[in-house]
Amino acid sequence: MKLTLKIWRQSGPAENGSFESHVLDDVSEDSSFLEMLDQLNEQLLKQGDEPVAFDHDCREGICGTCSLTINGYAHGPENSTTTCQLHMRKFNNGETVTIEPFRAKAFPVVRDLIVDRSAFDRIIQSGGFISVRTGSAPDGNSIPISKVDADKAMDAAACIGCGACVASCKNASAMLFTSAKAAHLNLLPQGQAEKDARVINMVNTMDDSGFGNCRNYGECSAACPKDISLDYIAKLNRDHAKARIKEIFS
């Protein structure tokens, strides 16, 4: 298939970016979106041009390194899919595909399509740590956890921290990410001791990083490749309110 790619080029964080168009012939329907970009970069190198910089790592949909806003959708129009798992058969021959970086003030562009998502690392760091035995495997049922809680914590832990929630949010809010990371530990007995401090610190770091506010659009959850539920945002709101009320009375 033949595609016209309208790609964002930006040589550095302080530079102004703009779109650049490239025509790519002989794209296999079976190639992934990132393989298609590899093909473009080979073509650019042969022409003596700078290749397009983009983030990628595992290419199995589990690391959260790939990003890209494709035709306006974070990770492309497919549901529950990362860019690396998106295949070219989902596009039409002759189509113009617009490829942009994840846009948010808290995710500054490093180069072309690569953005700096270290704000997410700072949010996780501010959540602190929990105390767990890391030697031999613990005895079965030494810490009782209900099946329901274990499942919910596991669903929250499925977040790969790719930033699609921020990119798809019209306000660049990081609520879905922060709520998943907070809920993952807040739901488990091991995370109870630091629960209140964790929520307050993570929310403060989220605010300080320059993310926007949640307006309950639900775009984040719709774009999330791991289908993180809006329930976690409600839980973050609840846990944060409880922590703040306790703070007043302590």
Partner: protein, 254 residues
């Protein structure tokens, strides 16, 4: 407590909840217009003669809710614009509709509507003659009370004003549909299992509010144009005689 991004959302939710409750009470009050002059005048008089601390306490409480709700919304919107300075070349949505995306727009129009509505029927500066409408109908004694019924009918006989009221109530309906279900999300009481039910409840509530408020201006206009008799026809005499005059004139000409 209220300085963080989540704190501001709590403020939006709590003040919103106050206003959600208020519009229902206001609507229930309005519907008494349909029961006739005596009923609505007596109700309006009973509200106006509440002990001053209850009357002004409620008014200030509602005014504070509106001001906090609008001011917090404004500061959230400014923050959100800063958080997303560059728009995508292609802006699309997967789930959000205009109801949730345009809360700022519907809210701003509603704020303008509230100011107009207060000047129209409460402070009565737009038509100062409304303040002088008095009657003994609906009064508990022989003394004259404010004739709310005549004022409402006179107010809604203006087509442009009535249309503005109905449009504003439609925007309120849309604002409530997203706002009411968001209250539960923002204060953390919503779960995915309840989300559908809460969205349905919020949507149903919003449409009830729309219908309840719109029926008064719509019925007044309907009677003015001779479609159906909702109210005592003597309040519509001037329109009827005008019509007769015009038809007489037409007859004379022919």
């Amino acid at each position: 407590m209220f300085s963080s991004s989540l704190g501001k959302k709590y403020l939006m939710a709590l003040t919103g909840l106050v206003l959600i409750g208020f519009v229902f009470v206001h609507m229930a009050g309005n519907l008494q217009v349909l029961a006739g002059q005596a009923q609505i005048n007596a109700y309006a008089h009973s509200l106006q003669t509440l002990p001053w601390f209850i009357l002004w306490g409620s008014r200030l409480f509602l005014l504070a809710s509106v001001v906090i709700h609008a001011w917090t919304a404004y500061s959230l919107i400014i923050e959100n614009r800063k958080a997303r300075p560059d728009n995508n070349e292609v802006e699309v949505t997967k789930r959000a509709g205009w109801t949730s995306l345009k809360m700022g727009l519907t809210g701003s129009i509603l704020l303008a509507f509230i100011v107009f509505h207060l000047l129209h029927f409460t402070i009565r500066t737009i038509y100062p003659e409304y303040a002088e409408m008095t009657t003994t109908v609906g009064s508990t004694g022989d003394f004259e009370i404010h004739d709310a019924f005549s004022m409402i009918l006179a107010g809604f006989k203006h087509e442009i004003i009535s249309v503005f009221y109905v449009v504003a109530m439609f925007l309120l309906c849309r604002h409530l549909a997203h706002g009411f279900s968001s209250v539960f999300q923002s204060i953390g009481l919503r779960t995915e299992a309840w989300q559908r039910k809460l969205n349905l409840i919020a949507s149903g509530y919003a449409w009830i509010i729309f219908a309840g408020f719109s029926i008064v201006p719509v019925s007044v206009l309907a009677q003015k144009h001779g479609l159906y008799e909702f109210y005592d026809p003597s309040f519509f005499v001037s329109e009827v005689s005008e019509k007769n005059n015009t038809s007489n004139l037409l007859n004379n000409e022919s």
